[in-house]
């Protein structure tokens, strides 16, 4: 198809989709409706499970199986990206040149790094109480580590991130999540059943299994994002050669 024919085909299709979708939206309950049957049940269950943050309760307890799948996707993507960006036989590794950094930038990085890391840990740790949790905190942790890239240079960052250790921590966290579920089965209940002591509502250790799963997710996300970013950075800094040059 020529580009024009392709665009025309799509625009015609889009017109039909838009029309039917718009008419369908008119049949939806209006924005802001009060009827949410599943939500009401989920809130009730959250109270029983003594988890203050309902979203965390849904994510790590009531629908923990979804989160297990989601973390597995992250794990698969990390493995996949690492495999795809591996150094192939025809590539050689070059040392990146050291880059001069302004003292003020270095100071900024030195101050920000601990602050971001602390924020990340706090957000992971309070996932069952306040907005946030393993995922958000994990991403903040991962980004925090990369502040050192801004502050110092690539080689410092490289020293900061021990690749193999991070790879393994990621795998370990993913496996831990799946294994935590077995506690339920071992106790004679169902897989991923929240059989631990539920604790007191609105305390740091409350919600039974929730804080543990939350922590595993935090570790997995933080290490996973660092590993992915590291491999992309490598591509811009380190590898040369490879490829056949031009299409065949």
């Amino acid at each position: 198809m020529t580009r024009r024919a392709r665009t025309r085909l799509f625009l015609a299709a889009a017109a039909v989709i838009a029309a039917v979708f718009a008419l369908a939206c008119l049949r939806l309950p209006p924005f802001g409706t009060q009827t949410h049957p599943y939500a009401d049940r989920a809130v009730e269950a959250t109270m029983r499970q003594r988890t203050a943050n309902t979203v965390s309760s849904v994510n790590f307890d009531q629908r923990a199986f979804d989160t297990l799948g989601e973390e597995t996707i992250l794990f698969a993507a990390v493995l996949g990206a690492v495999g795809l960006l591996r150094r192939t036989a025809d590539e050689r590794r070059t040392r990146p040149r050291p880059v001069a950094v302004l003292p003020s930038t270095r100071l900024f990085g030195a101050v920000m790094l601990p602050i971001t890391l602390l924020t990340g840990v706090y957000i992971v740790g309070h996932g069952q109480l306040s907005p946030g949790g393993g995922f958000q905190g994990g991403v903040i942790l991962a980004t925090g580590v990369h502040l050192s890239y801004l502050a110092a240079d690539y080689r410092v960052l490289d020293r900061l991130r021990h690749r193999e250790a991070l790879d393994r921590a990621d795998a370990l966290a993913a496996g831990t999540f799946a294994a935590l579920g077995l506690i339920g089965l071992g106790a004679g209940a169902a897989y991923l059943q929240n059989v631990l002591h539920l604790g007191t509502f609105n305390q740091l250790v409350s919600g039974g299994l929730v804080p543990y799963i939350n922590a595993a997710v935090g570790v997995e996300v933080a290490t996973g994002v660092i590993v992915i970013l590291a491999h992309f950075l490598d591509q811009t800094e380190e590898f040369a050669g490879g490829g056949k040059g031009g299409s065949r």
Binding site: I17, A18, F31, D66, T67, Q235, S247
Partner: protein, 114 residues
């Protein structure tokens, strides 16, 4: 107003698709996919909104407060993670494509036809 959020979600999906159809650069196409995906967050969270509801976090509100739907928020959260990881994987593929094929223009790739 009562249907606008849903319409916006549909619009975002279609412009994202349009971007993919007309894209001349596969990195750009991955970005357009991310745009198309944000339609799902908008739809899910709009569906779960409740007039007068607050965030479903009970650490500093009374336990009988009216809250918005926490389930769709959990779904949207999952969706955000899924989207980010898939984007990363696709970008890795696009990068490798440049290194192996020397181009990321989808219309310049002729390896697979017929």
């Amino acid at each position: 107003m009562s249907v606008l959020p849903f319409l916006v979600a549909g619009w975002i999906l279609l412009v994202g698709m349009y971007g993919m159809v007309t894209s001349r650069d596969l990195v750009h196409a991955v970005g357009c996919l991310a745009v198309a995906q944000s339609s799902t967050y908008v739809l899910l969270l709009s569906v779960g909104f409740r007039h007068g509801g607050t965030a479903p976090v009970y650490s500093d509100i009374p336990t009988n407060a009216r809250v918005v739907d926490p389930v769709v928020q959990a779904l949207a959260l999952t969706d955000v993670v899924v989207g980010a990881t898939v984007t990363a994987l696709l970008l890795a593929l696009a990068l490798q494509l440049q290194k192996r094929h020397g181009t990321v223009d989808p219309d310049a790739l002729d390896g697979l036809r017929g």
